[in-house]
Symmetry: C5
């Protein structure tokens, strides 16, 4: 559970709506159905055209990470790897079979299986790094779906605003409606800029950082597993892995 | 067939036109011949000046990829490579000659031919990676043609809008035409921003992602073919390749 | 103590407020509570949504670096490493144990400990570079928290300004309030642009440069420690390290 | 001869001027001497300050490439290299002396001379890649001169427009001149945006792509020459080089 | 002496002021003390906050490079290195001691000293490349100080303009001052955009290119010195180095 995510959304929207209320603005003036249709529909359309089906699905599945980030603490992993290196030293690599069966993390489990299968240190590193890079590339691509929408929303907000202004301009004869017409047109700008800057772009950046954290977690696992494969002693392994934390 | 591409274009244009209609805007106000001439003509001119002939042709040929993406599923490729490794183990590399003849994918076929020709693992990887990099670079260059147009369209839309405003300003004496004049000028902005953000940039990004998917497909093929060349056993190959999927 | 940081903030705010005063502007016109709520609240909300908890905490801890930068002079480090190489040559690597105990810098101390532990030059370089890269990546990520806020502030300032303009537009009937309404709306723009360009972005850039300086300090330490490990003579080491300074 | 370059310039300017004419604008309104002085002079001044003499000269010499691109077809090069490899196999590397004398391309000629001089495959590759990288870096730097001007032109157009508006504002008392004054001011914007987007930036991009094409041509030559140096058979060389084309 | 730098500044300012004069604008309208205070003070404050002391000092020292670029001609360096290789072949590496004493360029001198000290080709290349990279990184960081100021100036110009407009808006009651008030506000925009685009950014780019030229000069020196260390014959060295020039 990532409390900052929820807090961030609440603070941002409270600030914008609260600031408007403090200035004496009516809340109703900020709601405008057609503007919402243009900005949301346009941004969704653009991102659907932009994104391959598989990437789009992966992005949808990643949304829940914002509130429920993957729980990958680094310290316990170091402890676990050090313990595993002690087992391997005492009882041989085959003794890691049991640990592999109990290991909850899919990546560490795979690494242990490869160790048991007798992979050399080098081919173990190659196989695990290839997998890490491949998964990271796919995840970052999915996170960029939200970044992409965040790029389109403000420009489509401008389309909405300009369409609103065009209408206003064609009815200049009735100045009494001028102000409210322009006001309605401006709402599309707020929707576009707000959707992008208060939701989509921060969301994409948080996802990217979770992806990078998971990669660092996996790099730590790789360093530890490779050190077990070459037969480093547990104290060396602990020193090396602790140096990667801070 | 990529349903998201078509859906994306339909949703985006429906949202923009629908939003305008909901606001009570006339559709006719969004159509303006001269603005279209400026934005389309200017963007096409700029991109023709920018792009070498061969790249431009390649870009045109790639457009159909948006609706009909290359069908390169990863799972069946893994299965095929594992099966080929079993053939190679049982009957030797020369036995892949037949498989090469039946192989529909041009890149995999070439790799099999090189295997049969007795290339070492290292020279096989070199030759295939050189080919992958070279094709990817050309394809990305072609996809960037649409990105380039998407960069020019909004600025040329501004040229159109400012030209329209200049005309309006020179006829300030007749205020009755002021509003509709400004409205017409603004349409060029919508054309430029809309063409770029609802069509060209998403199109370029989808093409780029198809290109990258094809590269990942080819990387998978390279890993599998090289593993066959060094004589890895089929179970190892399957493990390695499955790790690249997710 | 970094005098430029404080001086920079003072000069920037004095220039902006002084310029306003010289033009005969009232200071009061630049203060607007609701605008402050929108810009500050929105920027903080966006950055909280964007940033994982651990990165946010690290960023907060780094703020004091702006006024109190880490004191990592390069010249004395070179002298110290040359002296250590003389000790190592005369009395052997084990004699560095004492020096390690007295060493204030955590990174150099760790390197000395690894030397005493008998790490080879190559594994020493690997371990220390892995640690340097890992710490640098985390620090740069934290510095980018302020850069991120600096990216959101101006766009949220625009949201504040447009919300203000919407209110003004809805009250066009009372032209006497028009000017002061628009003025209040514009203040949000100043807050957003000023917060970003006079505080957040320069702050992020200074932090990044401190991080990079610390990395260069550590690279220098690595070169020196590795040279000690391979047994270079002190004169060679001094020549090599001085070449990295300028 | 690159017909797209000329076509692009013609289409772009025809579209802009034609669009203006279709809207009923007078051509004369788009011509404004002082605006031209500001935009052209300012952009040229900025780029002269930015560019070292040698790079500026190189950029000027590269302009003709836009209409007359270097003629470097890939297919004939492959054929030529395959033929040369047959000569080298039959008659030895010294027999390439003649071919070197007749070779029109300066880079291929140099490579042949190095082959005849008995360079090993590795030192041949090193020497030719160093030369390729060095020439490519200089050419890209020169192409970026036009990109740089394309970056300055629109902002200097804004300076011109704002200067024009300042004048208009100081003469608000005479509303009859207001419109035409604003119109004249806007022309500077069109000049800046148009010069950049319809000429300078596309020009820079075309030059860059010619540079990259020439690099690919040279890479192909390097692969072929190195293959001759290691004594690959002509069929292998053809297969390898054809894989780089598409 | 770099005549383009001075010429560029003169042309740019002549064009802007001349264009204003041609349009019939008064020069006095472009001078505005408070706007200058805001833009200059704000930009300087931001850059002081952003820049560590040592980097700022280095940037100040680099300014004179714009008019007096370091004189590092490539052709004479090639000749000198070829001559040195002849000395080394005839009389041995120790004979370079004298040449080192007379060598004006600090980097070449250091390289010669290392040659005389008996460095191997590989350790010579390592030491010199480390030094080149380190100096280049510091110089580019210093050049980016001006780029940074060029990034802040236009946004701070907007702050100045909006502050001016706020004042104007608060005095809408007196329309006679409206125009000149807006005009004065706009001057801040011109200062910000002009300072950045006609001075700071081109300055930073010229410095960067001088830095890169010096790096290329040093790379040439490294290639030559390493070739002397491995004992290449003078003709080979000349061929290799000439290939790096163009």
């Amino acid at each position: 559970m990532d409390p900052l995510s929820l807090l961030g959304i609440i603070i941002a929207f409270a600030a914008v709506l609260g600031g408007n209320w403090l200035e004496g603005g009516e809340l109703g003036a900020l709601f405008n159905g057609p503007a919402l249709v243009v900005v949301l529909g346009g941004s969704i359309g653009a991102i659907l055209l932009q994104t391959p089906v598989a990437v789009f699905m992966r992005a949808m599945r990643m949304i829940r990470m914002v509130l429920m980030p993957p729980d990958k603490p680094m310290q316990p992993l170091v402890k676990k790897l050090v313990a595993l290196s002690q087992v391997a030293r005492r009882e041989g690599l085959l003794a890691l079979e049991n640990a592999a069966g109990r290991e909850p993390d899919i990546f560490v489990r795979k690494g242990l299986r490869l160790l048991v299968d007798g992979y050399t240190a080098e081919s173990l590193r190659d196989a695990l790094e290839l997998e890490l890079d491949s998964r990271e590339a796919l995840d970052l691509q999915a996170a960029r779906v939200f970044e992409g929408m965040g790029g389109y929303a403000p420009t489509i907000g401008i389309i909405g605003a300009v369409m609103g202004l065009i209408q206003v301009m064609q009815n200049l004869a009735d100045p009494s409606k001028l102000g409210s017409g322009i006001a309605a047109a401006f709402v599309a700008t707020i929707y576009g800029v707000g959707l992008a800057n208060l939701f989509l772009i921060p969301l994409a950046n948080k996802l990217k950082q979770h992806v990078q954290h998971e990669s660092r977690f996996r790099e730590l696992a790789i360093e530890g597993l490779v050190a077990i494969a070459v037969g480093d002693n547990p104290r060396q392994i602990e020193g090396k892995l602790m140096g990667l934390l801070h």
